[in-house]
């Protein structure tokens, strides 16, 4: 736990509330049902959706945006299903991710995969071997997958120009 004093502020929560998905963050009453329903929280001692939202509510902007925690959410939406106040931690963490990316915080694996997808048009271009082709043919499926990479490159140019990977 952090021993530095923190001056609470509602600005960060207001910021999140403006991002689609974060609108109702202020309805959270910190009851913990999301965490009790979270499969990741059950296997990871440190991951506590409620606590992460608490940090947003009291304004720990830096800590939250730089943290890996929002990226651990699997968007399984069990929390959203069970929250009685209408809050979706999954969507809030999604909003946090979008904001984090804008400020240059993104886990390596996400960065690399986004690059690949937008460049190749799909995720597993490297993994598609002759062996896979033969397998498809044996099953009577079309081995030519015909993925389109032009559009994704366009998307990258328009929306993710600042995301050039190394």
């Amino acid at each position: 736990m952090n021993n530095e004093t923190h001056t609470p502020s509602s600005d960060f929560a207001k910021e999140i509330a403006l991002i689609p998905g974060g609108e109702v963050i202020n309805k959270c009453i910190q009851c913990g049902i999301c965490t009790a329903s979270c499969v990741v929280a059950c296997v990871d001692d440190q991951y506590r959706p409620r606590r992460l939202i608490q940090k947003i509510l009291i304004g720990k902007r830096d800590e939250v945006l730089k943290s890996d925690q929002p990226w651990l959410c699997m968007t399984c939406r069990m929390c959203e299903e069970r929250c009685q106040e209408g809050v979706s931690p999954a969507e809030i963490f999604h909003a946090v991710r979008i904001l984090a990316v804008k400020e240059g915080h993104i886990p390596k694996v996400f960065q690399i995969t986004v690059e690949k997808v937008l460049c190749d048009g799909w995720m597993l271009a490297d993994a598609y071997t002759d062996f896979n082709e033969d397998e498809r043919e044996d099953l009577g499926l079309n081995p030519a997958l015909a993925w389109n990479d032009t559009f994704t490159k366009k998307v990258k140019k328009k929306y993710l120009a600042g995301e050039e990977s190394a």
């Binding site: 913990g32 049902i33 009790a36 329903s37 929280a41 506590r48 409620r50 929250c83 009685q84 209408g86």
Partner: protein, 914 residues
């Protein structure tokens, strides 16, 4: 909505026509309002939809925060209300409509029939052990059972029992003779076979005979058939007759002939014998004249012995005779006049229709061709016609099947039914057809005979043609049409024609007005013929029908004859208006289970003789089959309660009463309902036996509850060692449309937790919550006492899910303890969910009658929450209790008094009537 609430703002004096008040809802708030108005001298009508006043407060064990016994607080109120000279109770009643305006409302209410006279019943409970029908006890949250006749709780007010009767079950409605299958089957479930047999015999003296040959209209309508297969009703009352044969009757027959008027019955078939039976029970001397050497009519001479053994028939006829009916066989009657000359005051003609119909094709008189009635009569008299190897039977009814099976027993090797329609239209009883098929009967369906082939006037064969089914005719059956060019020849030695019967051309009936088919014309309600004092019934009136219809006629004729002789209106009130219980009204949540099979004699053995084919149920099978009955009407009208009641308080003929109440003001105090927590699959209610809700918990710890106050787990009946209480379920939940807080659950949850500790201080108790709302007087202290004195654990975290250990039945609650940021799996052996409260079911209907528009959460909106908190938007209509917002008991009572005050301001303006 028929209320006029457009009356102008009153600077002018309000014209109050009635100074009486109506309170809708008999819970603690409604009773408070009623008492406060009554104590000022106003007359109050207190209406309650359940059989007793008391509402939810009567169900709970203790109140918060005082831990008073709820019943101890409530029952003096119940007593005061019931004895108050100014309060008129209308319990077990509903509001039908409201018209008028403030000061002059006209409220129509329906007082539902309890079938028990409130004034005579002393609630002694003698009727309870007599009643054979058990249903889940709603007051005990369906944790226990009650009988169809019941009182919700010991201090029920008014102090009277009530019978839950939905109407007439489909089986009874379908029976022409008004036999009560649900009645006798309910008793069979309890092993009370003699009582069951008595119920059957109220309508029908032939339990064993018709238990073998009745077509069973009841089974066709049995609601169980919608679930899997209809109950085997016929075989069940056959069992009753068999049981009595085996064990002897439990009471001797009481025969008492105490009247003088002699009655003649012509024909000892089912109609005539039934008529005689009902008449001697009424005390009349009856003589039945029968032309044949033995009584029974077609039962004796038409139905073969393997279906209906002679001795069974003879014994049941003898049973009727033991009641005082004189049966004279070999005694044909000359004329109706002769009977009247002999001094008979009334006559019932039941001579039947035993003349075989002809096919109407050439060659029908050739040798080797027989007609069914005649063929069967000869066979049943021990003088059968000789048959060759190949026999064709024309027709598809029971007479045809009977003829065919007799032919098999007479040694015919190839017996074929020739019927012009298909299997679907075949009229014979399906079990008979099945038994016949087992015996080797061939079915040539969609086939019609067109020519009889003879040689030297002896039958050689039949020319047949194939048929197909075309469009339905006026009777709804598809008409058979010939398929051209499909003729073929059937080589046969004999032919039996079984295409229906009709009334014999010559007979006593000729003296009466007859129809073009030769049947006697009668008044369908009374069975009177055109001759005075002469009645008729059975096949001679209906044409060939069924034995049970004949029995029905016998009963109706007996009623008519009795009225005729007492010179009372014969036709009045013959039809009873009854509500037939619909399929939707029956609880069908049961696992499917097929009918119990009827054990049968082996085929090889049985076709050598006329030994009975269907062997009858054993007691175990009969009880098993009886258990399949769904008990559609709930109360089965066995009337054993009537026998048990020493005050003659029970009247099954009671009707609902509709009355109109003129009132000046209305107080709505309709209470609340609990949110149905089976709506939360993640909590396991309804799946796991040890997850219950708070009201079930209240009944378990209540000394007058189903376990007499022993807090036990429903899975194994043991005391729980560790209980978890889950708060905020069905309240403060945006997803389920119930965003509001229910105000009482935090406190009642804590109260329930404290009660567990009072039961046993060793029990480990935990409450899972998001907030504890302990806002009122004494509430915070109560909460602290729960923690400090009783050691109840409070964990701040809403429960994510409840999981069950299949072997132990124990539960694991998964929650985040938000104070420790830790996810915990905590084991309990009992979990109690605290449901939120909601407006009661049916509030929308009452509201619409009052002209009230409910708000979007379903509650009644008040005129102004700060300044007029018990006034509704309709002048003269006031709201109290939980009907406008959740409240605890003290607040409900306060609101009740407030509403009473607001109402009497209006009522006191009424003109004093001297």
């Amino acid at each position: 909505m028929t209320i006029d609430h457009t009356s102008k703002k009153s600077t002018s004096k309000l014209d109050v026509v009635s100074s009486e008040a109506l309170v809708i809802g008999g819970g603690v708030a409604g009773m408070q309002a009623a008492l406060d108005m009554a104590n000022q001298g106003f007359k109050v009508h207190l209406l309650e939809k359940t059989p007793s006043l008391g509402g939810k407060m009567a169900m709970i064990d203790k109140t918060f925060p005082t831990l008073d016994c709820s019943a101890c607080i409530l029952t003096p109120r119940l007593s005061e209300v019931s004895r108050h000279p100014n309060i008129e109770l209308h319990t077990y009643s509903d509001v039908i409509s409201v018209a008028g305006r403030v000061g002059d409302f006209k409220v129509k209410i329906r007082k539902r029939a309890r079938y028990v006279d409130e004034d005579k019943c002393s609630a002694c409970a003698d009727c309870v052990p007599a009643c054979p029908v058990e249903v889940p006890n709603e007051f005990d949250q369906s944790l226990g059972f009650r009988k169809a006749i019941y009182q919700p709780f010991p201090q029920a007010t008014p102090s009277t029992y009530t019978i839950t009767k939905l109407g007439t079950p489909a089986c009874r409605e379908a029976c022409p003779a008004d036999v009560n299958p649900q009645g006798f089957i309910s008793l069979m479930k309890e092993g009370r076979f003699h009582d069951a047999l008595r119920i059957f015999r109220k309508s029908n003296p032939f339990p064993g005979v018709l238990g073998r040959v009745c077509i069973a209209f009841c089974e066709g309508e049995c609601v169980r058939g919608e679930l899997d297969e209809s109950v085997s009703i016929r075989n069940l009352h056959r069992f009753l007759a068999d049981y009595e044969r085996k064990h002897g009757p439990d009471r001797p027959i009481e025969a008492k002939i105490d009247k003088d008027e002699r009655i003649a019955v012509v024909g000892a078939g089912p109609a005539g014998l039934a008529c005689g039976y009902h008449l001697v029970k009424m005390g009349y001397p009856v003589t039945v004249f029968e032309a044949q050497p033995e009584a029974g009519g077609l039962l004796r001479y038409g139905i073969p012995e393997y279906r209906l053994p002679r001795d069974i028939l003879a014994e049941e006829i003898d049973w009727i005779a033991k009641h005082g009916v004189k049966i004279k066989t070999s005694s044909p009657v000359e004329s109706i006049k002769s009977l009247k000359k002999e001094g008979f005051k009334a006559i019932f003609l039941a001579t039947g229709a035993s003349n075989s119909n002809k096919l109407g094709i050439a060659g029908e008189e050739a040798k080797g061709i027989y007609h069914a009635s005649d063929f069967l009569e000869r066979a049943n008299s021990g003088k059968p016609y000789p048959l060759g190897e190949k026999v064709a039977v024309i027709g598809g009814g029971d007479a045809a099947i009977d003829s065919a099976r007799v032919a098999i027993r007479l040694g015919a090797k190839e017996v074929t039914i020739v019927y012009r329609r298909s299997h679907v239209e075949l009229p014979a009883i399906p079990s008979e057809v099945e038994d016949a098929r087992e015996e080797g009967l061939n079915l040539l369906l969609l086939t019609n005979p067109i020519e009889i082939l003879t040689s030297k006037d002896e039958l050689r064969g039949i020319r047949c043609i194939k048929m197909k089914l075309g469009e339905p005719d006026h009777s709804g059956r598809r008409r058979p049409q010939v398929i051209r060019g499909s003729e073929f020849t059937l080589i046969v030695d004999n032919m039996i024609i079984a295409v229906g019967q009709s009334v014999t051309p010559k007979g006593l009936h000729e003296e009466c007005d007859c129809s073009e088919w030769g049947t006697i014309k009668v008044n369908p309600l009374t069975l009177e013929t055109n001759m005075e004092g002469v009645f008729a019934g059975g096949d001679v009136v209906l044409g060939p029908a069924t034995a049970v219809k004949a029995v029905a006629h016998g009963k109706e004729a007996a009623i008519s004859i009795d009225r005729f002789l007492r010179k009372v209106n014969v036709e009045a009130d013959r039809i009873e208006e009854r509500h037939r219980v619909r399929v939707e009204e029956v609880d069908m949540e049961k696992p499917t289970e097929p009918r119990v099979d009827m054990p049968k004699h082996g085929v090889a053995g049985r076709i050598q003789s006329y030994t009975e084919v269907e062997l009858g149920f054993e007691q175990e099978s009969a009880t098993q089959e009886a258990e399949r009955c769904l008990g559609c009407a709930i109360c089965c009208e066995c009337e054993l309660c009537v026998e048990a009641c020493t005050r003659e308080a029970i009247d099954h003929k009671m009707q609902d009463e509709i009355i109109e109440l003129p009132v000046g003001a209305i107080v709505l105090a309709a209470g609340y309902r609990l949110y149905d927590v089976s709506d939360y699959p993640r909590l396991g209610y309804g799946k796991f036996p040890n997850v219950i809700h708070a009201m079930e918990y209240e009944r378990l710890i209540n000394a007058s509850g189903p376990t007499h106050g022993h807090l036990i787990k429903l899975s194994d009946g043991k005391l729980p060692k560790s209980i978890g209480f889950i708060q905020c379920v069905g309240a403060r939940d945006v997803n389920r449309g119930v965003p509001e807080c229910s105000r009482v659950c935090c406190m009642y949850g804590i109260k329930n937790a404290v009660m567990a500790k009072e039961h046993d201080p060793e029990i480990d108790v935990t409450i899972y919550y998001a907030d504890i709302r302990a806002f009122g007087k004494g509430f915070e202290e109560f909460y602290n006492m729960a923690k400090d004195r009783f050691g109840i654990k409070f964990i701040r975290g809403r429960v994510g899910e409840v999981m069950e250990d299949r072997e132990t039945g124990n539960l694991t609650v998964r929650v985040e303890n938000t104070d420790e940021h830790a996810i915990q799996d905590i084991e309990h052996d009992l979990v109690v969910i605290s449901p939120g409260i909601q407006p009661p079911w049916g509030l929308d209907v009452i509201a619409s009658e009052l002209g009230l528009e409910l708000d979007e959460t379903g509650y009644v909106p008040v005129k102004d929450e700060l300044l007029a908190p018990v006034d509704t938007t309709i002048p003269g209509v006031f709201a109290c209790g939980c009907v406008d917002s959740p409240k605890d008991i003290p607040d409900s009572v306060t609101a009740g008094s407030a509403a009473a005050m607001r109402a009497t301001i209006i009522l006191s303006q009424a003109e004093k009537k001297e």
